[in-house]
Structure formats: structure tokens, C-alpha cells
């Protein structure tokens, strides 16, 4: 009964299994079940679950909604290191905010308040992008043609960066956005 020869016992499936092996199989099974239940448990009692709310959209339709949101809620403009003006948009408390991912920026800058719940809409105008909020470290895929509505409540205040962490071409590394939390 070597691993490179046919089993010497022709009826190998009738051979008994040693107790230690059964024990380990049982442990592996139970541990798998615990891990499985843990995900469900977190959906019920945990406070960090990714929203399932998503819609099919088009870049044009999404950009129109986002531009309307920006026009209504811009509080000031900032000049980036690259010399471009970027609107800072205050998302109404408990309200909805839009973030555009495109080659190669996150637009606009969002302003939030700590402890408030927001519905943040995410979509891409072109390729896949990756919403990577740092240093909090929340990472969400942003897919073109899909509008993802994520409910988030900031629990810390300060200036946060949105790194793009899905490869999106030659300017990928310069795709850095910003969120302010007061």
C-alpha cells in the first residue's frame, strides 16, 4: 500500500479508519462549521458588512447624478498639488453622497461627520478601480456599469486618503482621493 502503487488491500474502502484520523476529520468539520456560521453571525450582529445594494447603470447616467449632487452640495474648492480645482462636497447628514472613479482621480472630495451614517454611491466611468480608504483600510471593488450604494458611518475623524488599488493603467499610482471627517 504505497502511494505510487495500487492499494494492496483491494477492498480499501472497507478498511477501518484509525481513531486519531476520525478525530482530526471531526475537528476539521467543526472548525469549518464555526467559520461558516461566523459569517452569518456577523451579518446579524456585526457592524461591518458590505452593502448588497447595487444597480446597473451607465457612466453617463451615473455622472449626471453625481454632478447634480456636487452642484447642490459643494461648500468650497481646493487646489490639488497638480494645480487642478477640486470641489469639496459636504454630504448632508444621514444623506447620500456620490463618488466618481475615473482615469485617474476620485471626484469630488467628500466631507463627512463622525458618527453620522451616509449612503455613499460608488461607480466607475471607465475601467475597474479599487476604493481603498486609508489608513482605515476598507477596500471595495468599483466596477464600471454598476452603482454600488454603501452605507458607512465614520468612527474616526481627520483626513483620509482613497488609494486606487485596482490596476487601471499608466496613471494608476496618481489616482489618490480624499475624504474629510469632522
Amino acid at each position: 500500500m504505497s502511494a505510487i502503487l495500487p492499494p494492496s488491500e483491494r477492498l480499501w474502502w472497507k478498511e477501518p479508519i484509525a481513531k486519531t484520523e476520525w478525530m482530526w476529520i471531526a475537528i476539521a468539520f467543526v472548525w469549518g462549521m464555526i467559520m461558516f456560521v461566523m459569517m452569518i453571525y456577523w451579518h446579524i450582529y456585526g457592524k461591518q458588512n458590505l452593502s448588497n445594494e447595487a444597480y446597473k447603470t451607465t457612466p453617463e447616467a451615473y455622472a449626471a447624478k453625481a454632478e447634480k449632487f456636487i452642484a447642490e452640495n459643494t461648500v468650497r474648492n481646493e487646489t490639488g498639488l497638480d494645480g487642478n480645482e477640486i470641489p469639496v462636497v459636504k454630504v448632508p447628514n444621514g444623506g447620500e453622497g456620490y463618488l466618481i472613479a475615473r482615469l485617474w482621480n476620485w471626484y469630488p472630495i467628500l466631507e463627512l461627520e463622525k458618527g453620522q451614517e451616509y449612503k455613499i454611491h460608488l461607480s466607475s466611468m471607465d475601467y475597474n478601480h479599487g476604493f481603498s480608504l486609508q489608513p482605515v483600510n476598507i477596500n471595495i471593488q468599483v466596477v464600471p456599469g454598476y452603482e454600488h450604494v454603501v452605507k458607512m458611518t465614520p468612527t474616526s475623524s481627520g483626513t483620509f486618503a482613497i488609494v486606487c488599488n485596482e490596476f487601471c493603467g499608466i496613471g494608476h499610482h496618481s489616482m489618490l482621493g480624499r475624504i474629510y471627517v469632522k
Binding site: P7, W24, W31, M33, M38, D82, N165, I170
Partner: protein, 564 residues
């Protein structure tokens, strides 16, 4: 087709002439692609090492694409073709079915892999291994992959045909050996994988030629990962088969229980394919229920299968060693294992690194909610460098130390260097994987040229610890390269200048595997049982690490912003 059979005098393995030639050519092609993949790895590492940042962004993304394709597909799948022919024709001592189709397999894969590489190095196909639409590569990038996959699919059917030949010619009695069973698992998963791949690459090729207007970006991700992740499960099945093979050859280990180990392989066939979900956990398009069920391989049954192999492989080694008289204490069997044999050492490091690093990190990364902490971060390549590299690649390197003398009839050159190589490569890669995961835990992105974000409208400074981990990734990554280059040198050097060995008697008829005598199986029955207390301690250490690390990550998750 007329053929001959050679029985290797040292190992007793029997090589059919067509199978032998095909194994050699596939193995050589694999090593050449490993060389290309290794050279591109230097560019990747030296660019991501913040102190050097060697290449400009366009070249970095080009060679990163090449590195992924050449390592994950070209090196591994060429080698797997050799493994399939070995596990069928050699282990079952029969002729290879349809050797002409075997050559179609080989040449299609050669043409395909070269074509895709030409597309990549022309610079217009820097789309990464994943080639997510709507980012478009040149048509011959996709066409090359399709030809390569068709070649591999043909290889799978040659393997299956060879199993039929062995059965028909009665070259063995009873059931196929465990290693062949593992290879069969790999083959079945490969067929599923390649058909899924065809399902996405054919439309993508048509789209790149302008025949189809649009491919849904989310649908692409889902179907593509049916290819992308499942192909890694081929590797898992293949390297687990090798974990059974090497101790069987080196120390005469026998599976503790045929039923348990084969049952675990069967669970791979049933559940591993669901892993496409692992890449979609932080995506918008799927429901939470779908994610939970699929990411867990339907309630972790495939993880359970790997945990079972994690017990039965070292258990078989312990039992064999104890039978040899190494019975003192819990670990004499382990201390007195043949650590100076590079095949055994490589195999054991592969087992430990895959279990403790690749396995645990993979399950944690594939937990629906925890994935948000790591999705697309450097943690992901950290994880798969401890599965595909320290797991699969190291196991393939280890088995090559056995194949060079028996298949290529050459003695390995520099035996001392051969002894060092698996330690150098395996340990350096394990450390590299670990610090990569560390950097990813701190948020560092994968596939990212510049941690300083030059040209961005804002600035963001990564934590000092993240920069340190990236520096360590650079250093230990380069040490791994040295270990890999050493292996290529030793293998190629042995093929060119190694002492020629006796090929053994050639016959025009296969010698069937002798049927187990009733006496032999009777003596085995009952009296043969050996306890494996040392293995119990090892797997308990694995379990404790697993449980602690798993819950630590839930703790991390509970500290981020609230999401619902």
C-alpha cells in the same frame, strides 16, 4: 504506434518511450518559462522595493503582466502536463494513449505561450494576468491564452485515455495508486477550469477584434475567476499528489488510510470550483448569501479536505519512520527524517509553508467580511506566493530532484548545493510571503508602481512599518530569486553536464505491476497499524494558529468604520 519500455535500474520505474519524451519536453519548457518568470520577478521586486524603484511605470506593468502569466500558467501548466503523463503512463506501467495528440498538446502550448508573451512584450497588452474588461489587450494576447488552454485540455484527455489503456491492457490490478488518483483530481478540475476559461476568453477575443460591442465588467470578473482561481486548484491537487509521491519514494511511506485521503481528493473535485467567489467578496454585483455559500466552498468542505491532507501526509511520513525504528519521544521520526535529501526537504517545507502560511491566510482572506480589510492589497500576492510558490513551485522543484536521475538519466551536479537549495528558496519565499501579507494588512496596494503617489493631487504617507515591510519584501524576494536561479542552474547544469546514468533494460512489452500477494496483504492487515502522536501535535499547532489568526482578523474588522 510501436514503442518500447525502459525500466530504470535505480528506481524500478518504467518509462514508455513516447511518454518519456513528452515528459522531458514539457518539463524543459516549464523550466524555461520559470527562467523568464524569474527574470521578470527581478524587475517586479526591484521596482516595488521603495529604496530602488527600478523601472518606469509602463515597463513595470508590462513585466508584472508577464510575471503573472509566465509563472501561473506557463511554468506550472507545462510542468503539470509532465506530472499527468508520469502519474498515468509511468505509475500504471502502460503505453501513453495517442502520443501524437500529446505532441499537439505540447506544440499548441508552446505556440500559445510564446504568442501571449509576444503580445505582452510588444507593450500593448499590459492588462495584468486578470485582464479585466473593459481594459483591452491585443487580440493575440487572448488568442495565445486560448491556444495554450486548448493544448492543456488535450493533455488532460491524453491522460484520461492512458488510464483507459492501462485498464484495458491490465497493467495493474485493483484501483489506481493514490498519486494517480490525485493527478486525476487535478485533471478533472483542469477540464472544468479550461472550459470556463473558454467561456470568457472566446468572447473577450471577439470583443478585442471588434466583433462584440461590450462585455459586462462584473460578469467577466465572475467567469474569469472560474478560470483564474480554479486553475490554482489544479495546482493544489497536483502538489498534494506530489506530497504523497515523494515520501513514498524516499522513505517508503504509505497513506494512513486510502479511504480518507481519496475522500479528501474527492471533496476537492466537488467543492473547489466555487472559489471564483473569493475574488468577488468586495464587489457590487453579488448577494451576501451567494458570497457566503461560495466563498466557503459550500461550508468549508474543500478547506476540510486540505486539513485532512495536512494530517495524512505528515502522518504517513511519521508512520513510515516509526516502522523504521525512530520511535523515541514525539519527534524522533521528524528529527531523523532525510533532511539532506533535497526532494524530501523541499516537499516538507512546501507542506508546512502551504499549511501555516498559504492555507490559513487563504481562508482568512476568503472570509466574506474580512475580505474588505485585504481586497486588492499586497496581502493577496502575499497569500498566493505562499500557496503557488512555496506550495506548488517548491513541490515541483523537489520532485525534479527525483526526476533528473530517473527520467533524464543524469546525476545531479553539486550535491551539496542541491541540499541547500530547497531551504534557501522555501524559507526565503515564506518570509517574503509573510512580510507581503504584513504590508497588505497595513493597506499597501498590490499592482501599484509608486507608494509615494507622484503626480497625485494629494499626498498620503504609508505607515513606517508598511515601508519597512516593503523593504523586507524586496530583500527576501531577491534571496528567493537566488534560490530559484540556483535550482534552474542545478537542473539545467545536470541535464547538460551531469554524469550519465545507466538507462536500464529496454523491452518492447510493458511489465505489469505485480498484484499484491495474499500474504503481503494479510501481513499488512491489522498488525501494521502505527500511531502518529507527533503528527497530532503538529496539526494541533496548525489549528491553534488558525483559530487565533482567524479571530484576530475579526477583531481588526470590528475596529474599522461601520458599514452596512
Amino acid at each position: 504506434m510501436a514503442t518500447t519500455y525502459r525500466t530504470c535500474p535505480a528506481s524500478g520505474l518504467q518509462f514508455e518511450a513516447h511518454a518519456e519524451k513528452l515528459m522531458k519536453w514539457n518539463a524543459v519548457a516549464a523550466v524555461l518559462w520559470l527562467l523568464v518568470g524569474g527574470i521578470t520577478a527581478i524587475g517586479v521586486i526591484m521596482t516595488r522595493w521603495p529604496a530602488f524603484k527600478l523601472l518606469p511605470p509602463d515597463q513595470f506593468y508590462t513585466i508584472l503582466t508577464a510575471h503573472g502569466v509566465d509563472m501561473l500558467l506557463c511554468w506550472i501548466i507545462f510542468f503539470e502536463m509532465a506530472v499527468l503523463y508520469f502519474a498515468s503512463s509511468v505509475l500504471l506501467r502502460c503505453r501513453l494513449a495517442t502520443p501524437k495528440w500529446g505532441w499537439v498538446q505540447f506544440w499548441l502550448m508552446v505556440v500559445g505561450s510564446v504568442m501571449t508573451n509576444v503580445a505582452i512584450f510588444q507593450g500593448e497588452s499590459s492588462v495584468m494576468f486578470t485582464s479585466y474588461v473593459p481594459m483591452m489587450a491585443a487580440p493575440h494576447f487572448y488568442l495565445g491564452l486560448i491556444l495554450f488552454a486548448v493544448g492543456a485540455l488535450i493533455g488532460c484527455f491524453v491522460f484520461l485515455g492512458t488510464l483507459v489503456v492501462a485498464k484495458k491492457d491490465k497493467t495493474y490490478t485493483g484501483s489506481i495508486p493514490m498519486v494517480t488518483f490525485g493527478a486525476l483530481t487535478a485533471c478533472i478540475i483542469a477540464i472544468f477550469t479550461i472550459l470556463t476559461g473558454a467561456g470568457i476568453l472566446l468572447p473577450t477575443l471577439a470583443w478585442s477584434l471588434g466583433l462584440i460591442k461590450e462585455i459586462d465588467a462584473q460578469l467577466y470578473r465572475m467567469v474569469w475567476w472560474g478560470l483564474g482561481h480554479s486553475s490554482q486548484q489544479i495546482n493544489v491537487s497536483a502538489h498534494v499528489a506530489i506530497w504523497y509521491l515523494i515520501p513514498a519514494v524516499v522513505i517508503g511511506a504509505k497513506p494512513l488510510s486510502e479511504k480518507v485521503s481519496r475522500g479528501a481528493f474527492l471533496m476537492y473535485i466537488l467543492f473547489l470550483q466555487l472559489a471564483s467567489a473569493h475574488h468577488l467578496l468586495s464587489d457590487p454585483g453579488m448577494s451576501a448569501e451567494w458570497k457566503v455559500l461560495n466563498t466557503s466552498y459550500f461550508m468549508y468542505f474543500a478547506v476540510m479536505a486540505s486539513m485532512i491532507h495536512g494530517f495524512t501526509v505528515p502522518g504517513a511520513i511519521e508512520a513510515a519512520q516509526r516502522r523504521k525504528g525512530f520511535t523515541n519521544g514525539l519527534f524522533e521520526w521528524l528529527r531523523k527524517a532525510p533532511w539532506g535529501n533535497p526532494a524530501f526537504a523541499g516537499m516538507f517545507i512546501s507542506l508546512v509553508s502551504f499549511g501555516f502560511l498559504g492555507g490559513i491566510s487563504g481562508v482568512v482572506l476568503g472570509t466574506e467580511q474580512i475580505n474588505m480589510l485585504m481586497h486588492n492589497t499586497f496581502y493577496v500576492p502575499g497569500h498566493f506566493h505562499t500557496t503557488v510558490v512555496t506550495g506548488t513551485t517548491l513541490a515541483f522543484m523537489a520532485v525534479t530532484y527525483l526526476l533528473v536521475p530517473t527520467l533524464f538519466k543524469r546525476e545531479m551536479i553539486h550535491p551539496k548545493l542541491c541540499q541547500i537549495q530547497p531551504y534557501l528558496f522555501g524559507i526565503a519565499m515564506s518570509i517574503t510571503g509573510l512580510v507581503m501579507m504584513g504590508a497588505g494588512t497595513l493597506g499597501v496596494s498590490r499592482r501599484h508602481w509608486d507608494m509615494a503617489f507622484s503626480g497625485a493631487p494629494f499626498q498620503y504617507e504609508w505607515p513606517g512599518a508598511a515601508m519597512l515591510m516593503m523593504g523586507m519584501t524586496g530583500f527576501f524576494g531577491m534571496v528567493t530569486i537566488v534560490g530559484g536561479a540556483l535550482w534552474i542552474y542545478l537542473v539545467v547544469g545536470s541535464l547538460l553536464w551531469g554524469k550519465k546514468l545507466e538507462g536500464g533494460a529496454v523491452s518492447d512489452k510493458p511489465t505489469p505491476i505485480p498484484a499484491a500477494t495474499p500474504a503481503a496483504s494479510a501481513s499488512h492487515h491489522g498488525s501494521d497499524h502505527v500511531g502518529v502522536p507527533g503528527t497530532v501535535v503538529l496539526v494541533m499547532a496548525l489549528l491553534v494558529s488558525f483559530v487565533l489568526y482567524y479571530f484576530v482578523n475579526w477583531k481588526y474588522l470590528s475596529e474599522v468604520w461601520l458599514l452596512s
